[in-house]
Symmetry: C2
Subunit: 230 residues, 2 copies
């Protein structure tokens, strides 16, 4: 009979943080004391508090102990599915059109972001993702063929570069930037929206260790929202 779980310890810790029994900025008892008080092993307390620290609700440092941060930096978790799954999980039918694919030197900002020379040969892909046959998202992607040589043979008319890369490229790290732009003429035409319409954009760069794989900008149709939970 083990009534005390690490979740119950975590719930009790949360309660104390919220009730200010453990005030913001203040130190909390150390693991051994809590374990004794709650009647469980230190490992159980450790698991509970470590988890809270990862969520930004506690700050822990060796020897210094554990404290409740004054201004907690909360962490939200964002799910990044492939676009097809994103559309399908909304209960809509997914469609895809490859608009262009060619080898060319990248624009300077892309080259700089990937730390490649601006005369490097890269694959440029332009594709449209559809939901219920209406434009959902425009994918403007540059791929480093050195990182994924197999891509030259890939048939990107049936599977999107987005999906192909998730399945075939071994990426280790990446960064995202979310923002908004006014739709330029060319993009507005593809998305079927007015020129200068406000578009939600996601810029994404991925790496395999130090080797740059791809940099992509996704322009979503007007009104699109991306959601996260905390």
């Amino acid at each position: 009979m083990t009534a005390i779980t690490w979740q119950s310890v975590q719930a009790e810790a949360l309660r104390r943080i919220r009730s200010r029994e453990w005030p913001p900025g203040g130190q909390i008892p150390h693991e051994a004391d809590l374990a004794e008080e709650l009647g469980c092993a230190r490992a159980t307390v450790n698991r509970a508090l470590r988890d809270l620290a990862e969520a930004g609700l506690l700050e822990r440092r060796r020897k210094a102990g554990t404290r409740v941060p004054l201004n907690p930096v909360r962490k939200a978790t964002l799910d990044i599915p492939i676009i097809r799954q994103d559309v399908e999980s909304r209960g809509q039918s997914y469609g895809y059109r490859l608009l262009a694919r060619k080898t060319a030197p990248p624009p300077t900002d892309i080259a700089a972001r990937l730390r490649l020379p601006s005369d490097a040969r890269m694959i440029h892909i332009l594709a449209l993702h559809l939901a219920n046959d209406t434009p959902f998202c425009l994918e403007d992607r540059w791929v480093n063929p050195v990182a994924v040589p197999e891509m030259a043979q890939a048939d990107l008319s049936t599977i999107s570069a987005n999906e192909w890369l998730v399945q075939n490229a071994a990426f280790s790290a990446g960064d995202f930037a979310f923002g908004a732009i006014a739709a330029p003429r060319a993009i507005a035409e593809h998305l079927g929206c007015p020129e200068n319409a406000p578009l939600f954009t996601v810029d994404r760069t991925t790496w395999a260790a130090a080797l740059p794989i791809t940099s992509v900008r996704l322009c979503y149709a007007p009104g699109h929202q991306m959601t996260a939970e905390i």
Copy 2:
């Protein structure tokens, strides 16, 4: 001498996933086997694999075992600091102006989102956050006074509602939505940007258990980007 850490086990697992030694869609050896093979305790393997599963790189189910997902839904972690810290961490000076504060019934969409009757009395706050004395972000917030009665006495001219709530409201859950809008006249004037400029927006609703606390829309000045890493 304990050379094997859960991090090293995790690194080895990652290597096998990336090298396709453990192919997408395939099952991997169970914990006991891996522990024996790598020469460590099962708990160590468990910690390593559990972490990878949380990041979306593995799928684990009791009895069914652990497998490499075909289309991994990667999880990105977003830091949500208070706006002042966001500005200051960019090396800019933070400024703040309370534009309006009054009690009023909420618009229907806000009421619906918070599951409150549309004739509820709520506190409406409009405030401008500045970076280096130029507009950074416009905060349009509705607060449920039932959830935070102390807010009636709060001096929101020196501390933003954003910061006050983080320090004083015991929130337990929340959701975010990121999007883009064309700046309406009123917002454009506050942000000092052209009307219809594309603005990055964050809509955020927070709860204390079942009790709605606040719903806020942050409109960032044109060009602003929010970043995340994976």
